[in-house]
Symmetry: C3
Amino acid sequence: MLLPKHLVGLKDLNRQQIEFVLDVAQGMEPIAQGWQRSDLLKGTILATLFFEPSTRTRLSFETAMLRLGGGVISVADALRTSSAWKGESLADTIRTVDSYADIIAIRHATSGAAGEAASHSRVPVLNAGDGTNEHPTQGLLDLLTIRRALGRLDGLSVVMVGDLKHTRSINSLAYGLSNFDVRVTFVSPKGFEPAQPILDRMAERERSCRVTTDLREAVRDAEVIYVCRIQKERLEHAEDAERLKGSYLVDMALLRDARREPIVMHHLPRVGELAEDVDTYPGACYFKQPWNGVLTRMALLAILLGRVLR
Amino acid sequence: MLLPKHLVGLKDLNRQQIEFVLDVAQGMEPIAQGWQRSDLLKGTILATLFFEPSTRTRLSFETAMLRLGGGVISVADALRTSSAWKGESLADTIRTVDSYADIIAIRHATSGAAGEAASHSRVPVLNAGDGTNEHPTQGLLDLLTIRRALGRLDGLSVVMVGDLKHTRSINSLAYGLSNFDVRVTFVSPKGFEPAQPILDRMAERERSCRVTTDLREAVRDAEVIYVCRIQKERLEHAEDAERLKGSYLVDMALLRDARREPIVMHHLPRVGELAEDVDTYPGACYFKQPWNGVLTRMALLAILLGRVLR
Amino acid sequence: MLLPKHLVGLKDLNRQQIEFVLDVAQGMEPIAQGWQRSDLLKGTILATLFFEPSTRTRLSFETAMLRLGGGVISVADALRTSSAWKGESLADTIRTVDSYADIIAIRHATSGAAGEAASHSRVPVLNAGDGTNEHPTQGLLDLLTIRRALGRLDGLSVVMVGDLKHTRSINSLAYGLSNFDVRVTFVSPKGFEPAQPILDRMAERERSCRVTTDLREAVRDAEVIYVCRIQKERLEHAEDAERLKGSYLVDMALLRDARREPIVMHHLPRVGELAEDVDTYPGACYFKQPWNGVLTRMALLAILLGRVLR
């Protein structure tokens, strides 16, 4: 099989592997739309193990499994509803759940937890977000969204703005994009720059990469603008919040300065950093991302369960 | 299609539409009983979004979907298990979930939330209870229960007793009944009378309608007695609770004064206002309501998903 | 049918009934492995009602149902997510849920709750653990694990160690084993001995049965070692914890004194009483128990739903 057994991160996927996933995902469209029925994964079971609650991602995985005819067992809030698991090692939990499910999607507050789970699991493990490390299915759906909107991943100018230090989706997207011929501009307040390994990767792959605090200037040449939240509780001085709010707000006033009709993306939920007046902007893609998320997860489930040949 | 795209309330359904739903519901009996298998909704997905927990209603919707071969994604307690959603607008949540599900059942603590959800959703929205506004699927299952028990909805004398002001099921049932030739007696302590729009509707439709505090007298001619809770925390004076307890208790002693063998209904759970000695009374219908609830929701899912023609 | 309608405990199952369940369970292997597809329970619904959270057991039941093509409705944390149910009698809850599901698996903090649920239910009830009473599906899966590992249940020397007083799985396993020709040694700190009815049963059936505090000696002749937790909060003196930790730890050092290559079992999760160095010991069976749990619950669902003839 082209992909590794588990999907722990995009750090180690190459261009060919990514394009394969996106191709399979795009082929899932008729099934997701309901134009075509599928029992491709009938008889298989997905376990969603969420040690950190995230309704959005959990529902997306479960939808993907159901669309392909599979079944789902679910722990929506492992730490709260499972007192027993509090004292259990992750290894023991996984060695139990892999007796139930054919594939496991795990979310965990600890960076590296997905990799650890994978190392103990007899069945494929999908990382649904681990600490500030990676969120690879989000990264792949973001790549799919860009490719569907703009027709390609090469030759693009991508701006990412917000808290780039603590947003695991950004890590996965950046690792994914590093396989393509892109120019990336990271826009964030001081102290919220991307982690060094991300910048190192861009350098290694010789991608054009800039870090700046000036959103307005960065947007001017952007073809893709990816907006993230800045979490107030992470700012040192409370008064910074108000000041930043204005500087890092993506709204139509800002977009009118953009010269290349950029698409606008957001991993959602948004809480103020992306104005509602953008919702009717033709390039607004953030409500297409959830749809592409289902396609991407359908593809990953089918591939890792060995039901897509290549 | 005969019904609107969404089911937000019974306020705007007419007699023909209600009878259509009840007819389809009754036709679901063999499937619900397991005498007949159905894959009518195979390949479709229901999302149950409960911002206010209610296991009873949620399980009923999910059962209905599974009985027809469909799949379910579920948020049992949206506010507690979904920290992310706390700050997100309902509009954004719906615009995400409508990428996952083909139909959404939503419960929310805010009156009007179901209507707002519907206005943002590409897929049909079913109101599973919004604040003190409506609970239309409960209203329809109540109508089905009456029609199955008594053979008709016209010409009946209906007593509703308890906290009629804060019980959304009562609103939906009253709006539904206003389409039929009924005589309604509302029995409640002072301050717990039905909301004015309910009384106005009865007047508009020229239905016989009385508001009283005297349960004993009202029961005498009743053919249907619908019991609701009176929540103690809503009483101004704690000592009222004890006094009311006796005055608004439905038990066999009370029913012996009834001259027309009324059926007895309750939306459940009961917590003291309906005595257990009524459980073996032949007219006790409150454990038939959950069954009829499944039939009703099967009908609504099938109709709103366009799988029942008319 | 050979089995009673409900499975409330192993106390009242005889040898023939137990062997029947284990035989059916073993026959489920090809379906659980995915070598063979089954729609044996298609169109039926299992309700998992967990008034006490237990992700492990809940997921096992749900997996079993899905593997046989059935559907699941689930309450993962009935007391927390269902405010309404707090005030409702268990009888009323069951009389509602039996309108939704074809079979109910219930877990409850109160001993006897499963029996009470069964007495009010139109559909079969499976006890998934009630207070300190019984956990019969665990008992059966434990018996299956022993039988698969050692080829028989008769003639075995079984050691159970830990808090034998408060562990309901031990009660069920002991009742089950009492039907076979076994020698049982109960090893526990003072005050944590098995409940008297368990010892009485062993005497009644004339099984060799010993209660001791000396683990090392007991292990010497064991063929099965079943390890349970000792919960610190149940100890009278905090300092006991440390002392006991050493005396009741099962590790390779202890196992090296055993003369008959005993298998080692644990109901999981473990929190210190079973060392990780045992994980690679050939007789370690505790990660096979979850797998056998799925088989056992598949068998029970199929039998109680009347889909297995005999």
